[in-house]
């Protein structure tokens, strides 16, 4: 019993708060510096969305925990806050501000946790005149086999990129062939094959791989670049090997193959999130200030069509003015350097988007109350 009391005393102590906050300070600082080398996405996962920050010596798979990660510090702070309030706090009028601040911070921490757990970020790339009912995840690709035999709808079987390791074998009950991964490139560049110059055999025996060269590129961590994975796969049917195919997220066209007289299609693409509505890009404008390269405005005029509800309207999406629809938010996020007709919209589904607003209002108001009561008290005492 005494031990529990002692533990509780530590858990609710201000010293623990200070220690946690100092750890958070170090973590945020180091995590920010790490973004230079590792990129925002990786550094975020390693430092902030983890329980421990690991250090790996250059060789060997050793992972030594060296510092508490974001989740760890967040959890301890949360426990500390709740424990402190349950033990020490007596609710008085004077402390209402402090109470509000802490309640807000608790909500903020929980909200951030749910956001990181449940939010889905994807993007939608549209050329003028094009219409799409799905967004894509630029960070994850999938290998897709399509059975187009049903005239009303295609059957699509997708295999996540994480299973595409070199020399892996993939069997799926709905796919009539065994897929053997010959080589896998997490990031790659494709180029047209110049037959007279080429000294190596083409990457694949069938399909586009006969005329296209693939080269591995180191995976990128930059904010404005993405990995373009490719793979060479061998398809093995009941009667032996059908040959090899080159699949890549860069290649938009799927390639056909035949098993037992039935045609299938195979290809690789970014993971898709389908939506019950369509967005059609009508016009994309990208203005720069005259005589400069400074972007002045990006705007996408899109037509939103929802067959279920019969909705059909025009929406303008531009910087600081997103479209919120169907639990998702569509933001103007980018453009294509090479093609002025292309817009890139960021699509975010975040079920807990409202929590920071509530939390921050609560905390901000609490701080203001606390500051003002003290300031007024201070002024009064000075006057007297």
């Amino acid at each position: 019993m005494r031990a529990i009391k002692a533990a509780f005393k530590i858990l609710s102590s201000l010293k623990l708060t200070v220690v946690c906050l100092c750890c958070a300070l170090v973590l945020v600082f180091v995590g920010t510096l790490a973004q230079v080398e590792q990129g925002l996405y990786l550094a975020q996962a390693r430092y902030f969305q983890s329980f421990m920050v690991y250090w790996s010596p250059s060789q060997g798979g050793l992972r030594i925990p060296v510092f508490p990660g974001g989740y760890f510090i967040g959890t301890v702070l949360l426990v500390n806050l709740i424990a402190a309030h349950s033990v020490r706090f007596t609710f008085t009028k004077k402390k209402i501000g402090i109470f509000m601040v802490h309640a807000g911070i608790i909500l903020l921490l929980l909200g951030q946790l749910t956001t990181e757990l449940f939010s889905i970020e994807s993007h939608m790339r549209l050329t003028e005149g094009e219409s799409k009912s799905y967004s894509e995840n630029g960070r994850r690709s999938e290998l897709v086999v399509i059975d187009p035999s049903d005239p009303t709808s295609d059957e699509v079987i997708s295999i996540p990129e994480s299973r595409l390791k070199s020399n892996a074998t993939i069997d799926h009950p709905r796919i009539p062939v065994t897929i053997k991964v010959r080589s896998y490139f997490p990031n790659s560049r494709l180029s047209r094959r110049a037959p007279m110059m080429a000294t190596t055999p083409p990457p694949a025996s069938h399909g586009l791989g006969q005329t296209i060269e693939v080269a591995a590129v180191p995976p990128t961590v930059k904010m404005d670049e993405r990995n373009l994975p490719s793979a060479v796969v061998e398809l093995v049917g009941p009667s032996g090997s059908l040959g090899t195919w080159l699949v890549s997220s860069v290649l938009e066209d799927f390639q056909e193959f035949e098993v037992g007289g039935k045609a299938f299609k195979i290809g690789m693409r970014f993971e898709r999130y389908y939506k019950p509505f369509n967005l059609e890009l009508q016009q994309f404008t990208h203005e720069k200030y005259r005589g400069t390269e400074i972007p002045k405005n990006f705007a996408s005029r899109v037509r939103l069509k929802n067959l279920q509800t019969g909705e059909d309207r025009e929406v303008s999406i531009y910087m600081n003015n997103p479209l919120r629809y169907g639990g998702e938010t569509f933001y103007q996020s980018g453009f294509d350097d090479k093609d002025p007709r292309v817009t890139i919209l960021q699509v975010v589904r975040n079920p807990s988007w409202i929590t920071p607003y509530v939390a921050c209002t609560l905390s901000g108001a609490g701080l203001l109350v606390q500051f003002l009561t003290h300031l007024i008290g201070f002024a009064k005492r000075r006057k007297s």
């Binding site: 600082f29 975020q44 005259r290 005589g291 002045k296 910087m319 921050c360």
Partner: protein, 677 residues
């Protein structure tokens, strides 16, 4: 009478500020001020020619005027540089700071631009090209030329003409190197190359550099328009054509084509009301349109006339053309542009932030002096000076806001101006409450430092540049950015209050226990203020990010920087509430707050990642490192045991209460207790 003494100095300063509001005195008969007010389009915004000249000069020379006179022969002579340079080669020097009696003639930006545009034979002999790397100077064999000023050397265009080939070779090589990986030598060479390019562009923005009488040339071109176009058409159709007519059209077109490619500011307004308001063009491009349009853009005639009358030394005609062009602009719905030009010209003349800098330094010296002899008049003068400085500072900020149509902070430069403003406000509030010159010293010191920083940031070019699309929202600029910047001000004020505590405590005997306690309360109160503003500002930033990019928090460096300040403020407050730190601990932590804030303000811009970074400056990195080291030294000093503190050794110190109150855990009481005066 003695009660009013403290208004004398601020009064003098006010006279100084007011005097610069009048139109500047003309040294020539040409109305250069009116020329400087002409609106043109550059960097995507309408600005007066004065700003074009001002920023170009700042980029090339690092100063805003060109001195024409100075010392020669190691102090043997004083006079016009051009007259002295053959007699004393390589020893020309600008006025030394102690030569108070010397007032060298200087070219103001517009007068310099007029020379560059219309009398390059003069401009080519002005010392405007700064070369700061000694190796580059010896590589170009320039040791025996140029003008020196505190180790920096300035050269004329003519002095450099023989070295273009070497410079071109160097630049060719340097161009392939990533700007961040360049050595100081390479940066200096690239900078010189850029300056020469800019000079060339300016020289060909108002006329072709070899066109002696642009008005006559333009008149001939206008006459040749109709027959020339007809001749061209005939030639195309294989019909007989007049070669003479065609040549009369084509010869000037070659020069206009060159102008259209290199001209720097866009000086010709949009041709008609059916064009967008920012469809300005440069002189060459406007003239190239003439054959197709079958007529000249009226503005081209005014500029040709200005050029010819300036070259032929006809000030009356020049001034008349200027006023006619002004009337023409006003009559053709460019009234708001003309007004913008006049206002920004007035702002450039006023230089409010430069004047604030001088006022703050004066106030700082007076306030510091008041500590040593406890003169009430000195302290009051400092306070009045700071108050006047704040009025000028606020006026300058408001003026800028009106010019830009934006909230006060839009870029790094304006953030420095605004941080300074915030610290002066906070310092004055503290001074008003405690009247012990500490608030004044902090206000003067931080105000001065931030304005110096702003001055150096302005060397990058236009400080009123247009905002990229992401930032183009007055709502968030006015709330998030302003609040977070005030948070910076607060943490800096706290950090510098702590600096005063440490320096006075260790090195002087002037820090009484009572003053120490008051400083403790000040720092604590300001940190509370800082916590409030940093927290609210960070939250507002999150909400903006949610509105613009779809996530409240993305661990972007700038966001993390703001978060670091909030966390550090929270650490200080909780450590104090928990009794973990006492007075000196609070001071050490407040000084560390300076490091955290400077990282958030400048450090994250150097990481080169993230959506937020709006400026990369390498020189700043060295300064930032120096600042961080100095703050670490201060923290080290602060942690010295009390026996090393001069102030606390003094036996005759009043035996006040212990230097800090230790409050038990969970007693969330404090904000500054009243002094009970």
């Amino acid at each position: 009478m003695t009660k009013k003494l403290h208004w004398i100095l601020p009064g003098l300063m006010a006279l100084w500020v007011l005097s610069s509001m009048r139109a500047p005195k003309e040294r020539t008969d040409f109305n250069s001020a009116e020329f400087g007010r002409l609106p043109v389009l550059l960097n995507g915004r309408v600005q007066p020619l004065d700003s074009v000249a001002f920023n170009a000069l700042l980029q090339m020379r690092g100063t805003t005027s060109v001195p024409l006179e100075g010392n020669a022969g190691r102090g043997a002579a004083w006079g016009d540089f051009l007259a002295l340079r053959d007699q004393f080669p390589g020893t020309l020097e600008e006025r030394k700071w102690w030569q108070f009696t010397k007032h060298p003639k200087r070219l103001k930006p517009v007068s310099w631009l007029l020379e560059v545009a219309y009398k390059p034979e003069l401009a080519d002999n002005r010392h405007i090209f700064l070369i700061h790397h000694p190796e580059l100077i010896s590589e170009l064999k320039l040791q025996n030329q140029g003008v020196e000023n505190s180790g920096l050397r300035y050269y004329t265009f003519n002095e450099l003409t023989n070295h273009f080939e070497v410079l071109e070779q160097q630049t060719e090589r340097i161009r392939k190197i990533d700007p961040q990986a360049r050595t100081p030598f390479e940066k200096s060479a690239a900078k010189l190359h850029f300056s020469l390019g800019l000079y060339h562009r300016l020289r060909n923005s108002f006329r072709h550099e070899r066109s002696d009488d642009p008005a006559a040339q333009l008149a001939a071109f206008e006459k040749a328009l109709v027959p020339g176009v007809e001749a061209a058409r005939n030639r195309e159709n294989g019909v007989d054509y007049s070669k003479e007519d065609l040549d009369a059209l084509i010869q000037p077109l070659e020069q206009y084509d060159m102008i259209s490619r290199v001209a720097y500011p866009l000086i010709i307004p949009p041709p008609g009301s059916d064009h967008s308001r920012d469809a300005w063009s440069n002189l060459g491009a406007a003239l190239l349109q003439a054959p197709r349009a079958g007529m000249l853009h009226p503005a081209t005639r005014f500029f040709a006339s200005l050029a010819s009358s300036f070259r032929q030394n006809q000030p009356e005609k020049f001034n008349k053309t200027l006023s006619e062009y002004g009337e023409w602009l006003a009559a053709h719905s460019f009234g708001s542009e003309v007004q913008k030009g006049r206002r920004e010209f007035a702002f450039n003349q006023l230089q409010p932030f430069y004047k604030c800098m001088v006022i703050y330094v004066l106030a700082l010296i007076l306030a510091c002096a008041s500590w040593f002899n406890w003169s009430e008049t000195l302290n009051r003068t400092a306070f009045s000076l700071l108050t006047f400085g704040l009025v000028v500072h606020s006026g300058g900020l408001l003026f800028r806001m009106i010019l830009e149509g934006r909230p006060p902070v839009t870029n790094l430069y304006s953030s420095a101006i605004f941080v300074g403003w915030g610290t002066v406000v906070l310092g004055l509030v503290l001074e008003r409450i405690y009247r012990n010159a500490i608030g004044s010293v902090v206000a003067g010191l931080v105000g001065f430092i931030t304005l110096i920083i702003a001055h150096h940031l302005s060397m990058d070019g236009d400080t009123m540049e247009m905002l990229r699309a992401v930032l183009d929202t007055n709502l968030w600029l006015a709330t998030h950015v302003v609040v977070i910047t005030l948070g910076y001000s607060a943490t800096f004020v706290a950090g510098f209050l702590a600096t005063i505590y440490i320096v006075r405590g260790i090195f002087t005997k002037s820090l009484s226990r009572e003053t120490a306690q008051i400083l403790g309360r000040m720092v604590y109160g300001i940190i509370c203020f800082g916590t409030l503003f940093s927290f609210v500002g960070t939250i507002l930033g999150g909400i903006w990010a949610d509105q613009s990019w779809g996530r409240f928090w993305g661990w972007d460096p700038k966001e993390n920087g703001a978060l670091l300040i909030v966390i550090w403020c929270a650490v200080i407050l909780h450590a104090r509430w928990g009794g973990i730190i006492k007075e000196r601990g609070l001071m050490a932590m407040a000084v560390f707050g300076n490091i955290v804030t400077s990282f958030s303000w400048f450090g994250v811009n150097m990481l080169g990642v993230g959506l937020h970074n709006y400026g990369f400056m390498e020189a700043v990195f060295q300064w930032l490192t120096a600042f961080v080291v100095s703050q670490l030294v201060l923290i080290g000093l602060c942690l010295l045991p009390e026996k090393y503190w001069s102030s606390f050794q003094a036996k005759d110190a009043p035996a006040g209460p212990s230097p800090s109150r230790s409050s038990g855990p969970g007693s969330y009481d404090p904000l500054p207790q009243p002094t009970g005066k």
